[in-house]
C-alpha cells in the first residue's frame, strides 16, 4: 500500500526533479500542443460567442479548409493565391450556411441548432471528400518540421511557428472585438439577440462575418495540423481534442481558449510521460477531460466563461 502511494505520489516527482532539461522539454512540448488545440478551440468560441451555436462541424471545417488549400496548391496555385482563394471559399461557405441552415432556424433552442451543425458536419464530410478525394496530401507551407537545441532543450520549428501564429491570431481577434465597430456589434449580438436586433444590428450580416472569421481560424488550424499529419480525413477528429480546452476555458472566452489550451496541453503531457508508464500509457485522452472536469467542479462555467446567472 505504501509502495503504491510512493509510486504514485513521490516517484514521478523525483523523476521530474532528476532530469530538469527533459522536464523543460515536456513542458514546452505541452505548451506547443496546447496552442495547437487552442487554434481549433478558437473557432468554436467565435461561433458560440456570437450566435450561441455549438458548432459541431468546426472540425470538418478545419479539414475542408485544409483540403481546399492543398487541393488548390496541387493544381499549381502559389501559396499566397491559394490562401486568398481558400479564404474566399470559406467566406462563401459561411454565406451558404447562414442562408440555408441558420436563417430558417433562428430563435430555436440551442440543442436544435447543435443538431443542425451535426447535419452540416456530415454534409461537409461527404462534400469535401467528393471534391478533393480521400488520399493523404502533403501540406508544405515552407516551415520545416525539424528541431533545434536551445539551452539543452529541443525545440521544434513547426510548433514554434504555430505558437507564434496562435498568439498573433488571438491578439488580432482581441483588437477586432474590442476596437472595431463590427466587434462591438458581435458582442452586442452575443449578449442578447433581440436587443441587438431592436437597435438595428443586422443579425444575418453579423452571422456571416462570424462564420467567416471561424472559417479563417479553421484555415490556420488546418495548416498547422495538416503540416503535422498530412491533410486527410482524421483532421476532423481534432475537434475532440479541443473540447476539453473549451470547457476548461469557457465556451465564450477567447483568452480562455488560449489559457485552457496551455493548461490542458501541459497537464496532458506531464501526466502521460510521468504517470502514464505506471498504468500502461495512453492516458492522454481521458486525462485531458478529467482535468477539465476537475476545473469545472470549481468553476462550472469554465475559467473565463460567462458567469451563469440562474433565475427562478
Amino acid at each position: 500500500m505504501l509502495e503504491l502511494l510512493y509510486a504514485v505520489l513521490v516517484g514521478p516527482v523525483k523523476d521530474m526533479a532528476g532530469a530538469p532539461a527533459f522536464l523543460a522539454e515536456v513542458i514546452i512540448g505541452g505548451l506547443a500542443a496546447g496552442l495547437m488545440y487552442s487554434l481549433v478551440a478558437l473557432g468554436f468560441v467565435l461561433i458560440y460567442k456570437a450566435s450561441g451555436v455549438f458548432n459541431f462541424a468546426q472540425g470538418v471545417m478545419v479539414l475542408f479548409a485544409a483540403l481546399t488549400l492543398v487541393g488548390l496548391m496541387e493544381r499549381g496555385a502559389p501559396l499566397a493565391l491559394a490562401l486568398l482563394a481558400t479564404m474566399a471559399v470559406m467566406g462563401a461557405l459561411a454565406f451558404a450556411i447562414e442562408r440555408v441552415v441558420l436563417r430558417p432556424l433562428v430563435n430555436q433552442e440551442q440543442i436544435i441548432l447543435f443538431m443542425a451543425t451535426i447535419g452540416l458536419n456530415f454534409f461537409l464530410e461527404g462534400f469535401g471528400e467528393l471534391v478533393w478525394g480521400s488520399n493523404v496530401k502533403r501540406l508544405d507551407v515552407g516551415i520545416p518540421d525539424s528541431s533545434f537545441m536551445v539551452l539543452g532543450v529541443q525545440v521544434n520549428r513547426l510548433e514554434l511557428t504555430a505558437a507564434i501564429t496562435a498568439a498573433v491570431l488571438v491578439a488580432v481577434m482581441a483588437v477586432f472585438f474590442q476596437r472595431t465597430r463590427i466587434g462591438r456589434a458581435l458582442r452586442a449580438v452575443a449578449d442578447d439577440h433581440e436587443a441587438a436586433l431592436s437597435i438595428g444590428i443586422p443579425l444575418n450580416t453579423i452571422w456571416i462575418v462570424v462564420w467567416s472569421a471561424a472559417g479563417l481560424v479553421a484555415i490556420v488550424a488546418g495548416i498547422m495540423w495538416g503540416a503535422k499529419s498530412g491533410v486527410q480525413f482524421s483532421l476532423s477528429l481534432i475537434a475532440l481534442k479541443a473540447l476539453p480546452v473549451l470547457i476548461l476555458g469557457g465556451f465564450t472566452s477567447v483568452p480562455g481558449a488560449i489559457v485552457g489550451g496551455l493548461i490542458i496541453g501541459v497537464g496532458e503531457k506531464i501526466a502521460e510521460v510521468y504517470w502514464g508508464p505506471l498504468v500502461g500509457g495512453a492516458i492522454e485522452n481521458w486525462f485531458a477531460y478529467v482535468l477539465a472536469l476537475a476545473f469545472l467542479l470549481v468553476r462550472p462555467q469554465g475559467l473565463f466563461g460567462e458567469r451563469i446567472i440562474e433565475r427562478v
Binding site: 473540447l243 465556451f251 495512453a282 485522452n285 472536469l293
Partner: protein, 358 residues
C-alpha cells in the same frame, strides 16, 4: 373522422389513466406488436433481420435510455458508448463466471452494474449544467474505454483482446452465440425493448418522470417546491445507464457476436444522441422513430442506386450518401425542429378532424 374519441367514455379511473386511452390507438399498437412478433420473423429474410431490425431494436433501447436522461431530465450526456461498453463487458464477465445463469438474467445484472457506474459518473451533474456536462460525460466515455482496453481481466485475459458472446440457450433454444438464428435473437431483442418501453412510459408519466421534467425545465424552482436535485438527477443517470447497459449487452450478444472497444467509441455516443434529437427529446415514441431514421436511412441510401439501376462507384455513392444524410437532417430540423415524434403528434391531431377541415 376515423380517429375520433366520440362515443368512448371511461367509467373508471384506471381506464382513464391508461397509456393508450383511445381505442383506435390500442388497436393500432396491438396490430403493430402482433406484426412485429408474428409476421416479421416469418416474412423477413436474414438480411432484414440481422442488418436492419436487430440493430434498430438495440439502438432504440439505447436511445430510450438516453432520452430519459437528456429528453426528460435535461442532462445532456455523451457517454452512451462508454455505458454500453460497461453493459457489454459486465455481461461478458457475468456469463463467463456463472455459465449456468440464464443469459437474460445476465443482461439485467449487467444493466445493474452499468447503473452503478452511471451513478458515479453522474455526480458532476450536480455542479455542471448544459453543454459543459455533455463534455464532462466524455470523460466517462474515454476513461471507460481506456479501462477496458488496458485491464486484461475484463476480456478474461484473451489474447485477442476482444469479448465474444458465448453460446447460451433459453428454454433449450439457442439465443446467443454463432448458432443462434436471427429470428430468435430478433424476438429476444424485441421482448426486452417492449418491456423496457413500457417501464419507461410509466416512469415518465408518474412522479419520477414529473420530477425529471421539473428539473429539466426550471431546476431552481423545482428545488424550491421540494424536488431533490441530487436524488432526481442521480436516479435519471442510474436508470438511463441501466437501459444503455442492457442495450450494450444486447449489442454484443445479440447483434455483433464479438466486439472490441472500438465498437463502443465516441461515434456510438454521437449516433445515439442524434437518434434522440431527431426522434424528439422527451418522447418515448421519439426514441424509436429516431433510431429507425438513423439506422434505416443510410441503408436505404446505399440501396437506392441498385433500385434505380445506376452503377455508381462505391466511393462516390458513400460520399453522396453522407451529403444526403446531412442534408436530410437539416431539412428535417427546419421542417419540424422538435423531432419526428412531434411530426407524428401533429399528424394525429390532423387525423382527428380528417376528412373535415375543422
Amino acid at each position: 373522422m376515423i380517429y375520433r374519441e366520440a362515443g368512448q367514455f371511461k367509467s373508471s379511473y384506471a381506464s382513464d389513466q391508461a397509456v393508450f386511452p383511445i381505442r383506435q390507438d390500442r388497436i393500432v399498437v396491438g396490430l403493430a406488436v402482433a406484426a412485429a412478433v408474428i409476421a416479421v420473423p416469418l416474412v423477413a429474410d436474414e438480411y432484414w433481420l440481422q442488418a436492419v431490425l436487430i440493430p434498430f431494436l438495440i439502438y432504440s433501447l439505447a436511445a430510450l435510455g438516453l432520452n430519459l436522461l437528456t429528453g426528460y431530465a435535461g442532462q445532456v450526456s455523451l457517454g452512451t458508448g462508454g455505458f454500453m461498453a460497461v453493459g457489454a463487458y459486465s455481461a461478458f464477465k457475468i456469463t463467463s463466471a456463472f455459465p449456468r445463469l440464464s443469459v437474460l438474467v445476465a443482461f439485467l445484472l449487467a444493466g445493474l452494474v452499468t447503473a452503478l457506474v452511471g451513478l458515479v459518473f453522474g455526480l458532476p451533474s450536480l455542479r455542471i449544467k448544459g453543454f459543459y456536462l455533455a463534455v464532462a460525460t466524455l470523460a466517462a466515455q474515454f476513461f471507460l474505454l481506456w479501462l477496458f482496453n488496458k485491464v486484461a481481466w475484463f476480456t478474461d485475459y484473451a489474447s485477442s483482446g476482444t469479448i465474444t458472446a458465448p453460446p447460451r440457450t433459453v428454454a433449450s433454444v439457442m439465443v446467443t452465440g454463432p448458432a443462434a438464428t436471427a429470428p430468435v435473437r430478433y424476438l429476444t431483442a424485441l421482448a426486452f425493448v417492449a418491456v423496457f418501453a413500457m417501464i419507461a412510459k410509466n416512469l415518465v408519466r408518474g412522479r419520477v418522470g414529473r420530477s425529471w421534467m421539473a428539473i429539466r425545465d426550471r431546476d431552481i424552482a423545482a428545488e424550491i417546491i421540494g424536488v431533490r436535485p441530487l436524488r432526481t438527477k442521480l436516479l435519471a443517470f442510474a436508470i438511463s445507464s441501466f437501459f444503455c447497459g442492457v442495450a450494450g449487452a444486447e449489442y454484443v450478444f445479440l447483434y455483433l457476436g464479438s466486439a472490441e472497444t472500438l465498437a463502443f467509441d465516441i461515434n456510438v455516443s454521437f449516433l445515439v444522441l442524434f437518434m434522440v434529437i431527431i426522434g424528439g427529446l422527451g418522447s418515448i415514441l421519439g426514441s424509436f422513430l429516431g433510431a429507425a431514421f438513423i439506422v434505416m436511412v443510410p441503408i436505404f441510401l446505399t440501396n437506392v442506386p441498385h433500385l434505380l439501376g445506376l452503377a455508381m462507384p462505391v466511393a462516390l455513392q458513400k460520399q453522396i450518401e453522407l451529403m444526403v444524410f446531412g442534408g436530410l437532417i437539416i431539412l428535417f430540423l427546419i421542417v419540424e425542429p422538435h423531432g419526428l415524434a412531434r411530426l407524428w403528434q401533429v399528424s394525429k391531431e390532423k387525423l382527428r378532424l380528417w376528412p373535415f377541415p375543422y
